[in-house]
Amino acid sequence: MSRFLSLADAVSEIVRDGDTVAMEGFTHLIPSVAGHEIIRQKRRDLTLIRMTPDLIYDQLVGMGCAKKLVFSWAGNPGVGSLHRVRDAIENGWPGPLAYEEHSHSAMANAYEAGAAGLPLAVFRGYIGADLPKVNPNIKSIVCPFTGEKLAAIPSHRPDVAVIHALRADRAGNVMLEGILGVQKEAVLASKRSIVTVEEIVEDFGPRNLNAVILPSWTVTAVVHAPRGAYPSYAQGYYKRENSFYIQWDKIARERDTFLAWMKTNVLEAA
């Protein structure tokens, strides 16, 4: 059964130094405020998995929380680079950052396989591409029926998944709607999980019989965190702050403007 915790307590109890952490949300429902709390609590040596590192991992990497990044597209969507991620990779600032790179298809399949309790994901991928030459975790299997060679990568089995969802009910069940990304899979693939939510409701009420719901017993902690996805968005609650993504390009471009912004808006803004 999930427990209702404060954000500080949830991060303190569930995210540990050295953990492999998947903070997911595909443009929609990015767990931004949970990321800020991890930064405030100064977690170190995290292996951060995420399809699209986005601003949230730019901040975690820039603040020195990560030792490794596992990703498939590391940009500021529609804007340009993630300057802090690039600075870490290209210049080792604030510390060296190892990275393991996949395609979106591979990452999505690796979460799916993790949720399904399998050790590997099998898909048709990477044909003629160079990534298998530089990522030793990309291997293959041969179909025993057709002889076709298919790509195989290890499934994702993070220590912790952190996601943001629309609503929880009083029993701690969690509901998502809209762009779902890989969040359900990330939670089901992980040993522990934190779900921040926009709203806690008495019960979900009338709903589609196939509504996307994570039962309470699949989640470790539920945290009430309104606007917890900002500058990403929560369907039906608030819109994506596209202008902030554009501003971030300027904030993160230089180390000192980045650090100043983090100090004011994250470290001193608990």
Binding site: G78, S103, H104, S105, A108, Y111, L131, E148, G181, S243
Partner: protein
């Protein structure tokens, strides 16, 4: 004739290549503009899919990201990202995929990963995202890229996604059954693969552009088809619809704080 920019010409040429019955895997930027322009002009029934899981989406404004709420709210339905990549892309249901990149070679192999060596990058680019599997799973690939010697190169630093490989029957030797890049649409012209060698050759030149300009902007000795057409100039309707779309988008993005 109406005035237009080379960028508008590029988007419009790409839009025209789409058919009403296409199922199109759209990326952000020029592909999104082109496919929505097609939808708002000659291809009203085209199916647009974004990798965030939205199927049959009909955005009123162009998304800044691949997962803007607008895409979901106007979609027929939205599926999870694993389902998108398994059932819809890998399932072979997409007829046209759009790609672009930082570097392209004559066989339309693309690099969006890194400039310089992979382990010691000069410039670390965002990476492949969906591209490696889009390149081989979609029925055919349209590439949209502004042309220039820094991006149209003799040899790309990293093959993020397969085009025609080393040319000839390389794709089929790799077991790939899809056509790969059938059009490369730039701000100067349109390339298509030579039927035999699969080298991308110029088949249509945009109005007012010279062969010299094209050669100048290409990092390999560019070839021209035996008969090269002139791309029809944008019509007033195409330009009007495209500009309206951009104007609505600009207004909506300014107002996204509301």
């Amino acid at each position: 004739m109406v005035d237009y920019t080379s960028n508008e010409m590029m988007t419009i040429a790409a839009a025209r290549a789409l058919r009403n019955e296409d199922v199109c895997f759209v990326g952000i930027g020029a592909p999104s503009a082109a496919s929505n322009l097609a939808r708002l002009t000659h291809a009203p029934d085209i199916t647009l899919i974004y990798e965030s899981g939205t199927i049959g989406t009909k955005p009123n404004v162009l998304p800044l990201s691949i997962g803007d709420g607008e895409l979901c709210e106007t979609a027929l339905t939205t599926v999870s990202v694993p389902e998108m990549f398994r059932y819809w892309l890998q399932g072979g249901r997409v007829t046209v995929g759009f790609l672009g990149g930082a570097q392209i070679d004559r066989y339309a192999n693309l690099n969006t990963t890194v400039v310089g060596p992979y382990d010691k990058p000069k410039v670390r680019l965002p990476g492949g995202g969906g591209a490696p599997e889009i390149a081989t799973s979609c029925g055919e690939i349209f590439i949209i890229m502004a042309q220039g010697k820094r991006s149209f190169v003799d040899k790309i630093d990293f093959v993020t996604s397969l085009g025609h490989g080393e040319g000839g029957d390389h794709r089929s030797r790799l077991g790939v059954k899809t056509k790969g890049p059938t059009r490369l649409i730039t701000d100067l012209c349109i390339f298509s693969p030579d039927p035999q060698s699969k080298e991308m050759i110029v088949v249509s030149i945009h109005p007012g552009v010279t062969r010299e300009q094209i050669a100048e902007a290409t990092g390999w000795p560019v070839k021209f088809a035996a008969s090269v057409e002139e791309t029809a100039a944008p019509t007033a309707n195409e330009l009007g619809v495209l500009r309206d779309l951009h104007a609505r988008t600009k207004q909506a993005q300014g107002a996204s704080n509301a």
